[in-house]
Amino acid sequence: MAGVYRRLSRFYRPYLSLLWVSLGFLVLTALLQLAYPYLLKAIVNRVILGHREELLLPLAGAILLASLAKGICNFTQAYLAQVFGARTAFDLRNELYRKLNHLPFRFYDEIHTGDLMSRLTADLDAFRMFFAFGINNLLNLFFTIVFSIGMMLTLDVRLALLLSIVIPVLAATAIRFDKKIGPVFMAIRQTLGRLNSGVQESLMGVRTVKSFAREAHEIDKFRDRNQAYYDANIRATRLWRTFFPAIELTGNLGVVLILLVGGWLVMSGHMNLGDLVAFLSLIWYMIWPMSQLGFFLNNWTQATAAGARLLEILEQEDDLDASLEEVDRPMDGLVEFRGVSVKLGGEYVLRDVTFTARPGQTLAIVGLTGSGKSTLVSLIPRFRDVDEGAVLVDGVDVRHWKRESLRRQMGFVFQEAFLFSTTLFANIAYGRPDADVDRVQEASEVADAAEFIERLPDRYLTLVGERGLGLSGGQRQRASIARALVPEPRILILDDATSAVDMETEEVIQKRLAARMGRATTFLIAQRLNAVKDADEILVLDGGRIVERGRHQELLDLGGLYRQIYDMQFRDLEALRQFASACKAEGER
């Protein structure tokens, strides 16, 4: 586990000097802390009992001065450590973000947003806290105890040894308590999580709940979880209610012990009263830090575990080989697949796919769910690599293209139209942040987004995304098509990008795309055959293989899978045709 800190050392090493200085001040603070009991002793012994009143003012002044000096040292050590932690966290956070921006797509298929977020927030903070005060707390505890015992020993060896017995007892109690509270905290977090997700579900599905009149059921579910959360909190209370009073009692009994034993020593003349008074205040310097030993150690283990989870992200390997990437030039848009196969979990999802799409052509890909359509198009911008064969763009293997150059010249519209929290303008210009207004409007026009955008009160400045205006699925899809067009890509990939728009709009978009100047090589995945009928070539995929290819009419005549899909979709249409021809006949008659 110690390897965690070594592997993460590049983040904190540049700032280690801050830590060293901080620790220096920490030792000074721990020493200056002893000034008060020392001065107390002096006042009692020398001024009160020894009647040296001329020492009173200097000693009282010294109390103030020592406190001032201690305050300055304490502030310095704590602040420097915070700076150390914050800088380390700053670099680490930047690096994590950079890493996330370059992780392979596979990574995002496997991981949940919630899990990743908890690493970036809770884990990063747990790691930071150890650097920002965890190390200092542990060392402060150590120095305080050592110095306190040291001073006690100089005051009175017998009493010091007697009190030292308390330390291991306290340490054991604190550590045991921490072991017990760990699972309880976990239970609190878990029950809260369940409560949250339950409430979330009831609210998200409120229409379903109401339409089946199941409100009572949702309330029961909620009450169970609310009770479980309460119970978990009470479990924690049961631990707190003994722990803190017990620590306090230990200290208090220590005071009584000092009074009795020390008192006896004083009365028998083996000890000064001032020493006894110093003891009375020293004991608390040991009690409070010791009671927190469990927390401090826990902070350390948490940080180690958190660091390990952060390393899992940082040490994710890029599964695409970057060593051959060198081509960076303008693209024509010629795409070739040569005997391409892709395996997922040992099974072929694409097998021996070969085709060529010439610049400006439209290639449609049709097939049932799971036939490999999305995998096929994801190879072109190199979201993943082939297992066999090769994908070439302009005659160059995509693995030889500079990834940025490859992707900058392509527009990819995902099935799920994701918009960021910003203006519609910035969203559409996402691929070219410096794009001018005309270009964004033109792209919106083609994607049939301009019309609805113009009708919004703030038009292109409308805020969308999480807290912005909720757009419909179809509107988001149109905006994301516009986004793909702004960089004027040479290759445009529409992965079921019009699923949420109606057929009429889909038509409009396709016509405008086709009519665009200097059009891109277009790959089109669509469920409705209506959308693909004008393509230059249609590939029909089944089980990862191309089973049919050709133009719309050819494929219909072929009478294979394409025909079957067509028939399923357009039985209605046949009826309409019949109706139309019947009307025609009626009219002619």
Binding site: Y79, E201, R207, N226, R407, G431, L461, L463, R571
Partner: protein, 609 residues
């Protein structure tokens, strides 16, 4: 276009902002007596808990006040005539006091936490039950996320106030008064000198806590923006990678990150001095105490023990003072949260069982709309003067463009809203005269987006009829052709559905909701067909399943599929909130009116091709 140009000059920043994150609602509000009283009323049901908690804190208070005095007397016993028996007596008394303190602390922690947790639990319960009972207008007006924040975060933020704040602040006030009183009664001159610093402490504490609070608010604001961006960046990472935006985003993020770090360290610069400053004022008090106290000892006015006791009393001042400062902050935060919570609690459902309502007797399925008008916002009717009759068992297709009023008809029929004027009758009963529960129990709804609850698919199918057996659920799934794909899943009917049902395709989820509806076997069915295209095979299943589902019940379908529309007994064509045409498919086609145009527009290209 002109408009964009025009704003381009002054809103270039807005136009080019890579990301924009709006801040949360107000974090705190000014003190408001009415809110405080209303919050306090939540503690009323627990007089015993409060009473015993106060009693326990009273125990702590006694020890806080007496222990330093006894320690002082013990010290005096040492200096004076070496009265060892006195020393033992004081020690024994101290042990007794400390044991009492232990017991009191034990009870106080237990009772105050119980009290706080109970209050929070009840408040959350009340809020959830209330919100569940609110009408659709409430849910339609705000995103689920913001409601969630109220029920969870806003309620939780009151937790500290109720668990520690209230009882502790009462104790703290008494502790302060008690210490001052006891010090003055022991020796008023020494007390005056020692306590000179206290008002200074108090002001310092209040000032600092306010400063610290504000600084941390800035930190929280920035942190929530930072996290909002992170969450979004993760979800949109595919887009970022595809559009090669990593560098721009990195610049944006680093700036945000730096801003956060600076604010954070600034807050630390306010927070860290708090401890040392407390210490320093304490030291000032001690220095004054000794400087003046030693003279008093030497003149025989006070004993050494009293001096020691005073030093201890002075040490017990800080905790209550700083806790009172914290309480002030807690209350400010509570004002903001509770105002939002009460705002929800004061919202009344618009659709309720008003006056005398009867159970709706078993329905035959005769549905009648009589001159129904409804407006979501005043003066902008969504439907106007809509009248139609559906006979038992008929299928009614509602067609028209988006916003023509189809969904409104459905919303009114399910009584998510009540009509502004006109009447809706089922078997002759006005909807408003029967209980909501009895109405909705006999009505089924299939929404455009299927919502799946976490749990197994079996549980989800059973949702509309909780007492159905597994066999009945499976039979329902079979009837709507959902059985086949469910069986192919690794855990079949016992497959756990993830949040929002991500693992199933939209078409499959729709089949599940068909099964849910057919199992509930409603006499009246409302079905909102999904517009999104579904993969061909599933689409084929859905079309077949629809026939089964619609059979034998009065059905209202917001229809997009021609196949569904063609088989409807009645088609209602909506435009601008009115019915513009009605009839069967063939008749309407022959009439070549609005319906004909609608169908033409949808299928033009394919008919040509």
């Amino acid at each position: 276009m002109a408009r964009v140009r025009e704003v381009q000059g002054n809103a270039e920043a807005l136009l080019r902002a890579p990301f924009i994150y709006r801040d949360d609602e107000a974090l705190e509000k000014k003190l408001q007596l009415s809110l405080i009283l209303r919050l306090a009323s939540y503690m009323r049901p627990y007089p015993k808990l409060i009473g015993f908690a106060l009693l326990a804190t009273g125990g702590n208070l006694v020890v806080t006040l007496l222990a330093p005095y006894l320690v002082g007397r013990a010290v005096d016993a040492l200096v004076g005539n070496r009265q060892s028996h006195l020393l033992f007596e004081y020690a024994a008394a101290l042990v007794a006091l400390y044991l009492l303190n232990f017991a009191a602390s034990f009870c106080r922690i237990d009772l105050t936490n119980r009290l706080g947790q109970r209050v929070i639990q009840r408040l959350r319960d009340e809020l959830f039950v209330h919100v569940q009972g609110l009408s659709s207008d409430f849910f339609d007006a705000r995103p689920a996320g913001s409601i969630l924040v109220r029920i969870l975060n806003d309620v939780n933020s009151l937790q500290d106030l109720f668990t520690n704040g209230v009882i502790n602040s009462i104790t703290n006030v008494f502790t302060l008064i008690g210490i001052i009183a006891i010090m003055f009664s022991l020796n008023w001159r020494l007390a005056t000198v020692a306590l000179v610093v206290v008002p200074f402490m108090f002001v310092l504490s209040l000032r600092l806590t306010v400063q610290i609070r504000r600084a941390w608010q800035q930190v929280r604001l920035r942190l929530s923006r930072l996290n909002a961006h992170l969450a979004e960046a993760i979800q949109g990472m595919r887009v970022t990678e595809a559009y090669v935006r990593a560098d721009e985003n990195q610049t944006f993020f680093e700036q945000m990150n730096r801003d956060y770090m600076r604010t954070f360290l600034r807050a630390q610069r306010f927070s860290i001095p708090f401890g040392p400053l407390v210490d320093l004022t304490g030291a000032l008090g001690s220095a004054l105490l000794f400087w003046y106290g030693v003279h008093l000892v030497h003149t025989g006015v006070v004993t050494v023990g009293l001096l020691v006791a005073f030093a201890n009393y002075l040490g017990s001042f800080w905790t209550p003072i700083s806790q009172l400062g914290q309480l002030y902050n807690q209350v400010l935060v509570a004002m903001a949260s509770s105002e939002r919570i009460f705002q929800y609690l004061d919202t009344r459902p618009t659709v309720t069982d008003r006056g005398v309502v009867r159970e709706l007797p078993p329905v035959r399925g005769h549905v009648e709309f009589c001159h129904v008008t409804f407006a979501y916002q005043p003066a902008r009717p969504a439907i106007e003067d809509v009248s139609f009759v559906a006979r038992p068992g008929e299928t009614i297709a509602l067609v028209g463009h988006t916003g023509a009023g189809k969904s409104t008809v459905v919303n009114l029929l399910a009584r998510f809203y009540d009509p502004t004027s006109g009447e809706i009758r089922i078997d002759g009963h006005d909807l408003r005269s029967v209980s909501l529960d009895s109405l909705r129990r006999q009505m089924g709804m299939v929404l455009q987006e299927t919502f799946l609850f976490s749990g197994t698919l079996m549980d989800n199918i059973r949702y509309g009829r909780p007492n159905a057996t597994d066999e009945e659920c499976i039979a329902a799934a079979k009837a709507v052709y959902a059985d086949e794909f469910i069986r192919r899943l690794p855990d079949g009917y016992f497959t756990e559905v993830q949040e929002r049902g991500t693992r199933l395709s939209q078409g499959q989820r729709q089949l599940i909701s068909f099964a849910r509806a057919i199992l509930a076997d409603p006499r009246i069915l409302i079905l909102d067909e999904a517009t999104a295209s579904i993969d061909t095979y599933t689409e084929h299943l859905i079309q077949r399943a629809l026939k089964v589902l619609l059979q034998g019940r009065t059905s209202f379908v917001v229809a997009h599929r021609l196949s569904t529309i063609r088989e409807a007994d009645q088609i209602l064509v909506f435009d601008g909130g009115r019915i513009v045409e009605r009839g069967r498919h063939d008749d309407l086609m022959r009439r070549r009116g609005d319906y004909y145009k609608l169908v033409q527009a949808q299928y033009r290209s394919m008919m040509e091709g």
